[in-house]
């Protein structure tokens, strides 16, 4: 007797979703399709708090009906309540990491399973928490999805659902119908949606786009990175997550920018910056030009063309010492010098808030119809020291030191301010703040930042001839300077300690590598404990 192996077995379907994504509705639809076609259908899930945003598995079995089972122990098939690893015909995953989970748990296997997965990412909490970039490599997940299924149907079913004003369960149901993994016609699936009677039109629209997407090949992972001695996959930031359409478009735009930066750099800047663009073309290596042109615009908008001169002078010092094949010191210098020079002070934030393009972007995000009224309210919490930073140095010092000003200002802003940027008062307020720009060079913070930038550059320039890699890493350490208020304080502290460590590392063969490790530690937590541990570890002190 071998009825299972000879094919007398149910069709098995596992759905991996997060609570609230409609996995239960999807399972109900599948049951309805099966029952209508005369199948025995069973459907189970685990419920309860697991459904509060957590990962949940729904499981359906369908067994063909129509035969009489008078002589059998059971009149109806005995169906299982658990997906059995290696025996699941269809796995539906609402998101790419859940597809990875289905493979890890043995539900999706290359000998049997049709894996239908939405390729979008819903980041897990620990991916989101990191101070830097904590995202896992989607490419690895995509590779696994191809390797871990007999047939992989992948598309951004979440986006398809959103486009149809529906939920992901509807587009995935369409993909299931489109995959032809079940022996039922499209109209049976659509009937199930109609019978359920809720949001029928939008569900059917999402179903249709899911159905069509299932006919197209799933996205392919990027070719594997060069072998790296079996260590952790190197983080190549620009080429990591190819499947986010927004990111893909941005990458394409950036490639165009890089190409134009070499061919016709003046086309990439406004009329006032053409001389600067010519300078970039004439005096800097091609690899860094695209980044430099970004920096040229940014520094000019931040302060003015003479500030851009200062920017190019600074990067030129690095370029003069750049002996690297890929001009990394110049490229990263172009990036980080600009980012630091355009630090986020009150004037800069006010300017960013009142730009027309910004409001247009928000309208798009809110899906505002043309002409529809929309208000935008900012949640601001200016700190005394931020105000002091913006004022001319002497006044700034006085304000920062004044207990009277601190008390009054603290009282007003303790619970923050809400500013309506789309209103007359709110906009004018922000506009006035942005108009402080010409005074910025005389401000408290400006002097401080320029001195810090110069000392950072001097440090990099000093080590560059002897240890090129360390110089590059010193430049990239600017990355820890982020955030506002306390987060920024913490960043400055980390930066200072890292620069101190860099001084100690000079001359060591592993100096650059060690600095990278220390920088990662600085970005690992908010209280500096990880950095502390690394600095105390024998690997550093030895």
């Amino acid at each position: 007797m071998s009825s299972w192996n000879s094919g007398l077995r149910p069709i098995t379907i596992a759905i991996l979703a997060m609570g609230g994504e409609g996995g239960g509705v999807l399972a109900d639809w599948i049951v309805a399709v099966g029952e209508k076609a005369g199948y025995y259908a069973q459907n189970t899930s685990v419920a309860g708090v697991a459904q509060r945003t957590g990962a949940t598995v729904y499981y359906v079995e369908l067994y063909p009906g129509g035969e009489d089972h008078e002589g059998d122990v059971r009149r109806e098939p005995v169906l299982s309540l658990f997906p059995t690893p290696g025996e699941v015909d269809v796995v539906i995953a609402s998101e790419l990491m859940e597809a990875g989970r289905a493979i890890q748990r043995g539900f999706s296997t290359p000998d049997r399973t049709t894996l239908i997965a939405s390729t979008n990412r819903v980041y897990s909490m620990d991916e989101k928490l990191a101070l830097g970039d904590g995202r896992v490599d989607s490419n690895t997940l995509l590779e696994a999805a191809h390797a871990g299924a007999k047939q992989f149907i992948g598309a951004d079913f979440m986006q398809l659902a959103l486009d149809a004003h529906s939920v992901v369960s509807a587009s995935l149901f369409g993909a299931l119908a489109g995959s032809a993994a079940l022996p039922f016609g499209r109209e049976h699936f659509e009937d199930a949606i109609r019978t359920s009677g809720k949001g029928v039109e939008t569900s059917l629209a999402a179903f249709a786009s899911g159905y069509e997407a299932a006919q197209r090949p799933a996205p392919q992972p990027l070719p594997a990175a060069a072998p790296d001695g079996g260590g952790p996959v190197p983080v190549t930031i620009s080429r990591r997550r190819p499947i986010d359409p927004a990111e893909e478009a941005a990458a394409a735009a950036e490639r165009r920018h890089e190409e134009l930066a070499v061919r016709d750099p003046t086309a990439l800047v406004g009329p006032r910056l053409r001389p600067h663009a010519d300078l970039v073309a004439g005096q800097f290596p091609p690899a860094a030009r695209s980044m430099l042109l970004h920096g040229v615009i940014r520094t000019a908008v931040f302060q003015g063309p003479s500030y851009t001169d200062r920017y190019l002078d600074r990067v030129a010092q690095l370029a003069a010492l750049d002996t690297g094949e890929d001009q990394r010191l110049t490229l990263e210098g172009a990036r980080h010098v600009a980012l630091w020079m355009c630090y986020q002070d009150t004037i800069q934030v006010a300017q960013q808030k009142i730009r027309r393009a910004r409001i247009e972007g928000i309208r798009e995000e809110a899906k505002a119809a043309p002409g529809q009224l929309m208000n935008v309210r900012e949640y601001l919490h200016p700190q005394v020291e931020e105000i002091a930073d913006t004022l001319p140095t002497r006044l700034g010092r006085w304000v920062a030191g004044s207990s009277w000003f601190n008390a009054v200002f603290g009282k007003i802003t303790r619970n923050g301010l809400v500013v309506n940027t789309t209103g007359i008062i709110g906009f004018t307020l922000l506009w006035v703040m942005a108009m402080f720009r010409p005074l910025r060079p005389r401000s408290f913070r400006f002097g401080r930042e320029q001195a810090a930038i110069d000392s950072w550059l001097e440090r990099a320039l000093a080590v560059a001839p002897a240890d090129y890699d360390l110089a590059c890493e010193i430049i990239e350490t600017q990355r820890v300077l982020k955030g506002y208020g306390e987060t920024h304080h913490h960043g400055v502290q980390s930066f200072t300690r890292l620069m101190g460590a860099a001084d100690q590392l000079v001359g060591r063969p592993d100096a650059a590598q060690t600095l990278v490790r220390l920088r990662d530690a600085a970005l690992a937590d908010e209280d500096g404990a990880a950095l502390e541990r690394e600095l105390d570890a024998p690997a550093f002190t030895a």
Binding site: T53, R74, L268, V269, P305, R355, Q372, G485
Partner: protein, 723 residues
């Protein structure tokens, strides 16, 4: 009103004789109760039987027609005590709760009930919350059945079998004057299937009849000397009567009788998994035609000695498939077989996992090992799951790097009003400069123990958050202990076990009562302090009034938890005040899951009717965000996420607000209270704008256009349109 409405499904409960009834296990159980002529029902919600309570609530019309009394009990103890109505009167009663936690709470009443015995059938439907998806400690309800000598039904996971078990349960209870427990495993409760219905039966005696004809029997009351008589009755009368009924009705089943000289004994609830394992191994089929003799224990307590001995007669070896630990049944069978001098080899936990859920994998591996040893001839299949992980054909062969599959534990929903409570507590700790011991409770608020809040050290049971902090109370300490309790736990027992205890013992703790207007974690059922009008129940009893009523003098209600700054200030006061006794903060805001369910249709209707509607959502300026994610670390909202940095110069992902945002305001409040960053904004999209909106908009457009012209003109000298 509960999170899920069964108003539509309950109409199925009217199904009459011979019609096919399709639905979830829970709905089928309700139908079975009505078919059995139940007179009263009670219980306490909790997964996996929450929906049973919700179905009953939504079915109140049908229940009233049949004269069935239904109560949302205050606790499982209340529900169990309710069964007292079946002691003196021939009333069939059923109660339900989550087990083992609910059974723990109920066990005082259950022990008393079981001692005196019952006249009318008493059925305790326990949702066995064990294995994947469980939210509680891993224990078995079996122990309660044994200690109080109540019978335990464990039907096959099949809708028909479950319905039959309900009916048989009442009969067994009446035949043996003993309360009967019906165990439904987690997945069985949510099992979808069908059965052939019977007519509903009006109870032959209703609660009204009993009230109007009071009667008592002194020897049924649990007070010596009757208690000694009860124990004797249990052993000499009730147990044999139960065994007789089980045998007579054939509640346990034997399949494949004499097909081999080895056999398998299985709990009913695990039968489907066993059959699947045998299908995979080629010794059974989808219709249960097994090659290996199988004894299915649909009643797992008491064990019927004679059936075991009959089944084992002439067999060399028997495998017992018993889920969970301790191995009560295996011990029991060993005693039966030893006493009878049987030579059969009994296997169980030596081939199968000692603890944990018996999944298809676990059972297949165990049964394969057993059959390979005793009956290799019947094994005619080699499922891939038996292959070693190193074999590339194994389903567990590593195909995905473990580091890219992160855990995804449950957490607070988008817009949850409990999130700002914990943000505020973190901020209050920052302000006072002191970390506190936090005693947590059961409920959604327990998710605060995880990232990003990391608040909470222990949880001792529902409503015991305050009691769990009782000992950590020192006059000499420089700070006080913090306890958390939900409104569900508060009314369940926390008012007396926690607040009353703290008042009486002059405990100095800060107690935060999370008042979200529902018993939210169990599915949004109403409690005494719920603010909704409920046609069946009395609501709107404020928690602050209750705590003041039992002697708390420092109590504050914060009616809007989203005002993080205000809440933080209240916490700071409560943590620093010199006033003795417990400090109680009632933090109020409606559960967002339920609020959205309520308001979404209302909004849609207003929109359709042309009324002015403002749709709010939050957003993050990618330019202003520096990608430090401090906002995520104080919030953890599912709709506050990250996205690739749109700025080609910067590499770290920036924060972003997903379309699922419900505009609760926590992001903005956190940006304020934690002085985060200026990146957050709220967009208010106006639908069906009125003339004032329009006039104001024209004015604004003119003024803003004027001011921004020079800003844009200046930028245009430097920038170009996107390439």
């Amino acid at each position: 009103m509960a999170e899920r409405s069964f108003a539509h499904e309950v109409q199925k409960l009217r199904a009459g004789e011979g019609t096919t009834f399709s639905g979830e296990g829970i709905l089928a159980v309700t139908k079975a109760l009505l078919q059995s002529g139940v007179a009263y029902v009670g219980g306490y919600q909790g997964a996996p039987i929450s929906h049973l309570m919700d179905v009953l609530g939504d079915a109140h019309g049908i229940l009233e027609e049949l004269g069935v009394y239904f109560e949302n009990s205050a606790s499982e103890a209340t529900a169990a005590a309710m069964l007292a109505a079946s002691v003196n009167y021939p009333l069939r009663g059923a109660i339900t709760f989550k087990s083992t936690v609910g059974t723990n709470v109920a066990s005082d009443a259950l022990a008393n009930l079981a001692s005196g015995g019952v006249r009318g059938g008493a059925l305790i439907i326990v949702g066995e919350d064990y294995g994947e998806g469980s939210s509680i400690m891993q224990e078995r309800s079996h122990a309660f059945a044994m200690k109080s000598q109540m019978w335990l039904l464990d039907p096959r996971p099949n809708i028909d079998a479950i319905v039959n078990a309900v009916e048989a349960g009442f009969e067994l209870s009446e035949a043996s004057n003993t309360p009967v427990m019906l165990e439904l495993r987690l997945r069985s409760c949510h099992l979808y299937g069908s059965f052939t219905a019977k007519d509903n039966v009006r109870p032959p005696m209703t609660v009204k009849d009993a009230v109007e004809n009071p009667s008592r029997q002194l020897d049924r009351i649990v007070l010596p000397p009757a208690t000694f008589l009860h124990e004797k009755e249990k052993l000499e009368d009730r147990w044999p009567a139960a065994v007789e009924y089980i045998k007579h009705r054939g509640l346990n089943e034997v399949f494949g009788g004499d097909k081999a000289d080895v056999g398998i004994i299985v709990q009913g609830g695990v039968y489907n998994t066993l059959n699947r394992a045998m299908e995979l191994l080629g010794c059974s089929d989808a219709f249960g035609n097994t090659e290996v003799p199988t004894y299915v224990m649909n009643v797992t307590y008491p064990v019927v000695d004679s059936e075991i001995l009959d089944f084992c007669k002439g067999k060399r070896a028997v495998l017992l498939v018993e889920e969970g630990q301790p191995d009560y049944i295996e011990q029991n069978l060993n005693a039966i077989l030893r006493r009878a001098g049987s030579q059969v080899a009994l296997h169980g936990k030596d081939f199968l996992p000692v603890g944990g859920e018996y999944t298809a994998s676990a059972v297949t591996q165990g049964v394969h090992a057993f059959l390979s040893r005793y009956l290799p001839g019947v094994v005619d299949g080699s499922p891939a799951l038996l292959l070693p992980q190193t074999d590339p054909r194994s389903p567990f062969a590593p195909r995905v790097d473990a580091s890219v599959v992160r855990t995804r534990p449950p957490g607070l929903c988008t817009g949850c009003p409990e999130r700002p409570i914990f943000s505020a507590l973190k901020l209050a700790e920052k302000e006072t400069g002191k970390k506190h011991h936090v005693s947590a409770d059961i409920g959604c608020h327990l998710f605060a123990i995880n990232e990003p809040f990391n608040l909470g050290a222990t949880t001792m049971g529902y409503g015991l958050g305050s009691a769990g902090a009782a000992a950590l109370n020192s006059k000499d300490a420089d700070r006080r202990t913090v306890a958390v309790m939900g409104d569900g736990g508060f009314w369940h027992n926390g008012l007396t076990s926690g607040v009353g205890n703290a008042v009486f013992n002059r405990n100095d703790q800060l107690l935060i009562v999370v008042d979200n207007a529902y018993s939210a974690a169990t599915g949004g059922q109403d409690v005494l302090s719920s603010t909704a009008d409920n046609v069946l129940r009395s609501t709107k009893h404020p928690i602050e009034k209750a705590v003041r009523g039992i002697g708390v003098t420092w109590a504050k209600t914060v009616p809007d938890t989203y005002k993080i700054g205000e809440l933080r200030d209240v916490f700071v006061k409560a943590l620093t005040t010199k006033k003795p006794g417990p400090k109680v903060v009632v933090a109020q805001s409606e559960c967002m899951l339920n609020k959205e369910r309520r308001e979404k249709p209302e909004r849609a209707k207003a929109l359709k009717d042309g009324k002015r509607v403002v749709k709010e959502r939050f957003g993050v300026d990618a330019d202003t965000c520096t990608g430090d994610h401090a906002c995520i670390r104080v919030s953890g909202c599912p709709s506050l996420s990250i996205m690739p940095n749109p700025d080609p110069m910067r590499t770290d992902p920036v924060a972003t607000v997903l379309d699922s945002c419900v505009g609760c305001g926590v992001c903005g409040a956190n940006a304020h209270a934690a002085s985060l960053c200026p990146s957050f904004y709220r967009s208010d999209l106006v639908y069906n704008a009125n003339w004032r909106d329009k006039a104001l908009a024209r004015l604004r457009k003119a003024w803003i256009g004027l001011l921004s012209a020079n800003v844009e003109r200046r930028a245009a000298r430097y920038e170009i349109e996107a390439v």
